[in-house]
């Protein structure tokens, strides 16, 4: 894509008795929308705060445009942050909030006002310019917070779970606002979230973190189709994970023996050897169901446990004779063509190429 703007070089962060970030080595590219995603406590917010200068790395370097930032104070950096709690100044009006960063930078009164109004207009909240913050709705406050950071015209914008306090319908709308903004302005967005749907919907690349380390970096599509390891596979998407031992190796496939039966997997990047333990993943939307045993190398006989409807998608939860849980995802209209009354007798199948072997890390 483009040149690296930010480089994390062997960065670690220790707090007194616990390690928040074990070792970070990655880069953030200019002009990209990067999401850092992971469960609570994985270190994603700490990483963002280190970039903003609110935490100092215990070891390692953070470089912005080639310059080492470790000793640069937070107010000397150009890394405006959109806070999870929004952190708007309650004693200032919306416009005064937006002007704040410019005021700190010594911009004169008239110019401050002009730029602030321009951005409030851009965020479609110009009419609220002189209002008290407490009178604004959640969505309006969100836009003030964005305007406040963007008016600084920074190279890089940091966002810490900014949509977590919004109602569900607003979240979708704001996601569109953010992606459009980023594309239009061309600045780098670094977006921290615990929500997979947010990260995958908006980002060019996603960094998945777990327990202070990077589990995988890639485009949403790559991660979804080819999770690098068990942690990512479980965290992302609806995946079926099966584990067993390698019984037989062929040119580009292998046969793996699991308690639920024998299955064929493609052998691509990961090198396998006979007798080795291996896990593989089949995405729930790549599994087919049938009422009678289908042809094919990969089948499983299950009974239906439950169904979950989300919008037009339905996820079926099934269980085989050995008690292993399977998930199948399809459109609701596809489901209606099946008669699931005989729910004890459902056959699952998938293509060998749909499976993906995991790294044993």
């Amino acid at each position: 894509m483009s040149a690296p703007l930010v480089i994390f070089d062997k960065v670690q962060k220790h707090f007194d008795d616990f390690v928040a970030v074990k070792e970070l080595d990655f880069e953030i590219r200019e002009g990209e929308f990067l999401a850092i995603m992971g469960p609570s406590g994985c270190g994603k917010t700490t990483t963002l705060r280190m970039l903003a200068g609110l935490e100092a790395p215990t070891t390692g370097e953070i470089r912005l445009s080639g310059q080492v930032m470790n000793d640069v104070r937070p107010h000397e950096r150009d890394t405006p942050l959109v806070w999870q709690s929004l952190a708007l100044f309650p004693f200032l009006s919306a416009r005064e909030n937006v002007e704040f960063g410019l005021k700190m930078g010594g911009v004169d009164k008239a110019e401050r006002k002009e730029r602030a109004l321009k951005w409030l207009d851009k965020m479609q909240i110009l009419e609220f310019a002189d209002r008290d913050i407490s009178t604004l709705s959640g969505g309006q406050k969100q836009r003030v917070a964005l305007a406040r950071s963007l008016v600084m015209e920074p190279q890089i914008l940091l966002l810490d779970e900014p949509l977590s306090a919004l109602d569900a319908h607003l979240v979708i709308r704001m996601q569109a606002v953010l992606t459009d903004l980023q594309r239009e302005l061309g600045i780098t967005f670094v977006y921290v979230t615990h929500s997979q749907s947010e990260a995958f919907a908006m980002a060019d690349r996603v960094v998945i973190m777990g327990e202070g380390e990077i589990a995988q970096i890639g485009t949403p599509k790559d991660i979804y189709r080819a999770p690098a390891n068990q942690f990512v596979a479980e965290f992302v998407g609806r995946n079926n994970i099966l584990s067993g031992t390698v019984a037989e190796l062929a040119q580009d496939t292998a046969r793996i023996t699991t308690p639920s039966g024998d299955f064929m997997v493609p052998v691509n990047e990961v090198s396998l050897s006979q007798g080795q333990n291996a896990s593989f993943v089949i995405s729930a939307d790549l599994v087919h169901i049938a009422m009678a045993k289908p042809d094919g190398e990969n089948t499983a006989h299950c009974r239906l446990i439950s169904e979950e409807f989300v919008g037009s998608m339905v996820t079926l939860f099934l269980e085989d004779a050995k008690g292993h849980e399977f998930k199948v995802q399809m459109q609701e209209r596809e489901l209606s063509s099946f008669d699931l009354k005989s729910s004890d007798n459902i056959w699952l199948s998938w293509d060998t190429q749909s499976a993906h072997v995991l790294n044993e890390s």
């Binding site: 903003a52 107010h75 960063g101 700190m104």
Partner: protein
């Protein structure tokens, strides 16, 4: 449910009684200050402003009133400043000996005033600072700073924990952030602290009595009158003193609760 209602009536009466007990001396003092009799009792004598005229023409009273004014204003400023410094340090920093640090400001109110009065008298005499107006100011600032600190600390609790960092993030240095964010945010509590410490200082008599020497404050004058014979002038002075301290305390409370008043932005 009849029991419930009778109980409620009884309880309301009881609360009324308690309030009557608490406010009775204040109200009586007010009534008797306009009473013509020398010794206040019922039946009341005639309405008279004699006692007010007396105190308003007494030079000693005016001087003491002026002293009280100077002392409480100065005390308010110093105590609120000290309270702010401590509240902010407690809010923002964790450091060794933080416990003893907080104890340092919070202990004085737990020590009986008469003991503080003795200790201050002795110490100020030793270091040659006794008997002056500033002696009282210093002593009062020690006694009232905890109130200012408590009020401001409570206000800081209401601040979004990210607010300070948000200001740094937008380019404000620590000093600029203090000036443009922390202080504006704390304004109601600072005002409240000023009024509260002024009120406490204005009424304080024990330490003032010991430490002031010849520079008497109003409470000291009251003490001296009370030690003599029954003199209804005390009611007149008392009424003034009540009015002033009550106004200060009410203002302090209004500012403290002003967060709920949307119209006050600062």
């Amino acid at each position: 449910m009849n029991q419930g209602r009778t109980l409620n009536v009884l309880l309301t009466l009881y609360v009324g009684l308690i309030f009557a007990f608490v406010f009775a001396p204040i109200i009586f003092s007010l009534i008797f200050s306009f009473n013509s009799q020398r010794f206040p009792t019922i039946p009341l004598g005639s309405f008279s402003t004699e006692w007010y005229q007396k105190i308003l023409s007494d030079a000693d009273v005016w001087e003491a009133a002026l002293n009280s004014l100077i002392v409480s204003c100065s005390t308010a400023i110093i105590a609120t400043f000290l309270g702010f410094c401590t509240a902010y340090s407690d809010y923002r920093y964790n450091f060794r000996f933080k416990g003893p640090y907080l104890a340092l400001i919070l202990l004085p109110p737990t020590i009986p005033l008469i003991i503080m009065a003795l200790a201050m008298l002795a110490w100020f005499s030793k270091i040659g600072m006794s008997g002056q107006i500033y002696s009282i100011i210093i002593a009062h600032s020690v006694l009232t700073a905890p109130f200012a600190m408590a009020v401001i600390r409570l206000r800081l609790n209401q601040m979004d924990p990210d607010l300070e960092a948000a200001a740094w993030n937008l380019g404000g240095s620590e000093w600029a952030t203090m000036r443009h964010v922390i202080i504006p945010f704390c304004k109601p509590a600072i005002a409240s602290g000023l009024f509260l410490t002024a009120a406490v200082s204005f009424d304080e008599f024990a330490v003032s009595w010991f430490v002031s020497g010849l520079n008497k404050t109003l409470p000291v004058i009251i003490l001296e009158i009370v030690q003599g014979n029954i003199d209804p002038q005390v009611n007149a002075i008392g009424t003034f003193v009540f009015l002033i301290s009550m106004t200060l305390v009410v203002l302090a409370q209004i500012f403290f609760a002003s967060r709920q008043l949307k119209s006050i932005r600062a």
